[in-house]
Symmetry: C2
Subunit: 463 residues, 2 copies
């Protein structure tokens, strides 16, 4: 089996030596196309071993390595080997998870993983319905659809035009913009996304939100959904979930917690209190492919109202197998129809580590975030947001004084290809800052030192 | 590397010996849970090699094997090894395809595959926009969203309530019910799905459809979308695409071709003429994880109107990297945000086989379908639908005479666990029949003989 021997060697070597690779590639669209187009015309067969070697080389050399310990990026993790194994097995057996009866084992392994994670949220695993999704965008979409299905008995058949009111989705300026996308997709329109300003600490202000909702109500809106973010994309901020749950209760809105990334903190007994109140949410988004360190494509949606989920997604059909006893047929409870076992990697990672082992990984990343804050301050940088989670937003007196711009710093950092960070806009006044997130459980203090060295170089005025 | 040595051995052994395995498992929810729950409490770590061995055993023994040459099922294929390799590499490097700049190589490989497949549709690869989706349901969803974005300039902001008309989606009774699901999700409501009756040959009747649309228009509907199915789920029927395109043009509707499975026929020069007219469609759904024999999770959406796609999905954002030259940032052109490289398996399968090699696989499956028809007739069965594609619907004089029911036949076939077929309802009068589809490129005449033997046993009255 030379093919899989080669692949096994690459898996071991790439994972062992990734720290020595550049984080950032040097490809341009033109250079890559000039290389690939003549070779891949699909007009003749290519031996699978030759092809595999070429694809491995291309992926090793021509991507931002999100699995690198010095990728301080957008919640894309280093992955556990258990997740790679699981994705291989998912492809090999090609389990079909539309219905339970086609894939009993894969369905039950997914179910066990989802129940264990529901317990970490604080949900009763027997009183909720959870599903894997393509990602957080689809899970957030589910929240709006379940809210519509729950609040409006005529929605499924007559659509949003016949609701007799104009439903509103309340987010903060720091919420993920997938809510803007889903507002289009659900036919509510982007005008229905009501963006509430955040306080100086970048958190939604519950009493200001409640006033906003009441003013909106007078203008013809009715509150459908309140979104609390547990770990914002820009700065890792956790909205005040218990207070938002109370506002949702008083205003009659569905309360959704978007913990796409921050959900990972629930695995740590030390960090979990920072997400207090998440169990009060009607539904929760949690992406395993972010802080649970599994490969891309492990979104999750948890809902305390199984009947709303079923109303949102159930369709009649004539050709699908009939349901099996006390089981869930996934095509009736998610936007998807056919699906591979995307949750197998979550099951295998959880089984390999155990809950406690996962907690240690998460704690380590939070520790590295805290250490990065200390090192930045020691090196003369200024922190601009505060969170117990490992996202660090910062600036520098030279930037604030206009001696160098954030774009210049980032351009110089990227040019060295040794680390990846990003610019962000923070808060209601759109303050610009630099952002570094600990996305690899293998990031060590020496990687933080390398980042600070790159940043310091980035500050130097042009020659 | 004993872990990957074990996995490589399982890959080779499972693929070589699958014909000797039962197609259907014997698990029940209770039996599986009693086995799994005590072992997987996630309260202690489990060695990855031990865990992997257990997961391989579970998946080998406890699922309907859709990759089996005697699985005559629901468009879930045997997979090419290139697809398994690709899914392993996608997990290893964890390429993030939200934006081009993060994964230049993976983005460009996907682009090449999509352009080559667009050419098979008959689209100009420079004048279209194509994207990978989670599956056909998401691709079909894209068709409705692009139609809305294209027809109604106010839709994105104001939603469907402000359109000033009631948009209708025209499907046939044989179309896939993902259109019912997406009618809910888009806020159009299931009442907007206007189901036109089919002719005796199970095809949409263009002139009857046009009359239906005109009658609907008088009742306040306006035609948004006409769906032509190129390979229906139940019987593999291809709707008259050129005539439906003409109806769409005359009525002002968007014309969508749902070739989720049938698109595979485009790879064969011999079968491709049966999908004549597909290039006239405004958009096309085509699932690589059906007849292109890649693992689950390779849906595709092709659209001749790039601007409509962008209008449907573009969102403002503050934290995503900026676009790179003449490239597509996937999160701006699909319902998803983050995404793994689900298209790598399509690229690698296409590169390994070449277009001609793919055509041979597809032709072989069509040949096996034709042979199954002959063998069924020779064995006394009655064919009840006609298609050049390898889906076969049939019944038997004993069934028609009431001596045995379709459910009894299927129950007896399943009890032997040697093959999987399904019951279907066909046509506007919902006639029941049995259905067998050639879903593996490795199905041979001996597998057809085995199916017929099982069916003949299934006819025998109870002891």
């Amino acid at each position: 089996m030379p093919l899989w021997t080669d692949i096994a060697a690459e898996i071991a070597d790439f994972r062992r030596r990734i720290r020595d690779l550049p984080v950032i590639p040097d490809a341009t669209p033109d250079s890559l196309r000039a290389e690939l187009e003549p070779r891949y015309r699909f007009d003749r067969p290519i031996d699978l071993e030759t092809l595999t070697a070429d694809v491995m080389r291309l992926l090793r050399t021509q991507q931002v390595h999100v699995t690198h310990p010095r990728y301080f990026g957008l919640f894309n993790p280093q992955v556990r080997e258990a997740g790679i194994v699981a994705d291989t097995l998912a492809a090999l057996y090609n389990a079909q998870l539309a219905v339970w009866s086609h894939s009993p084992a894969a369905n039950e392994m997914e179910r066990l993983a989802l129940r264990a994670l529901a317990v970490r949220i604080g949900y009763d695993p027997d009183g909720m319905l959870a599903q894997f999704t393509s990602g957080g965008a689809e899970a957030n979409l589910c929240s709006a659809l379940c809210a519509l299905a729950s609040r409006f008995p005529t929605w499924a058949e007559e659509g949003v035009a016949a609701l007799g009111t104009r439903p509103a989705i309340y987010v903060s300026t720091e919420s993920h913009h997938s809510f803007v996308k889903l507002a289009k997709m659900t036919g509510l329109g982007t005008a229905s996304v009501r963006e509430a300003p955040v306080r100086a600490d970048l958190k939604l202000d519950p009493s200001a939100l409640e006033q906003f909702i009441e003013a909106d109500r007078a203008a013809g809106w009715s509150p459908l959904l309140i979104v609390g973010t547990a770990g914002t994309t820009a700065a890792g901020i956790v909205d005040p979930l218990p207070e938002l749950a109370a506002v949702a209760k008083r205003t009659g809105a569905w309360f959704h917690a978007d913990a796409a990334w921050g959900g990972g903190a629930l695995m740590s007994d030390r960090l979990r209190p920072h997400l207090e109140g998440i169990a009060l949410a009607d539904s929760v988004t949690w992406d395993a492919h972010k802080w649970l360190s599994v490969p891309m494509g492990g979104g999750m949606f948890f809902c305390r109202h199984p009947e709303a989920v079923k109303r949102a997604f159930t369709t009649v059909h004539t050709y699908m197998p009939v349901p099996t006893g006390d089981t869930v047929d996934n095509f009736q409870t998610t936007p998807q129809w056919s699906r591979r076992t995307t949750g197998l990697k979550v099951f295998m990672s959880l089984a390999e580590l155990g809950v406690e082992g996962y907690g240690k990984l998460v704690d380590h990343q939070a520790d590295m975030g805290a250490l990065l804050r200390t090192k930045l301050v020691d090196a003369g940088w200024t922190l601009v947001a505060d969170t117990p989670l490992p996202v660090v937003c910062f600036t520098h007196p030279d930037i604030e004084a206009g001696r160098v711009s954030i774009d210049e710093v980032i351009r110089r950092v990227y040019a060295n290809r040794q680390t990846w960070i990003s610019p962000v806009l923070l808060g209601s006044d759109r303050r610009r800052a630099l952002r570094a997130c600990i996305t690899s459980y293998e990031t060590e203090p020496r990687d933080l030192d390398a980042l600070i060295e790159e940043l310091t170089n980035g500050l130097r005025p042009k020659d």
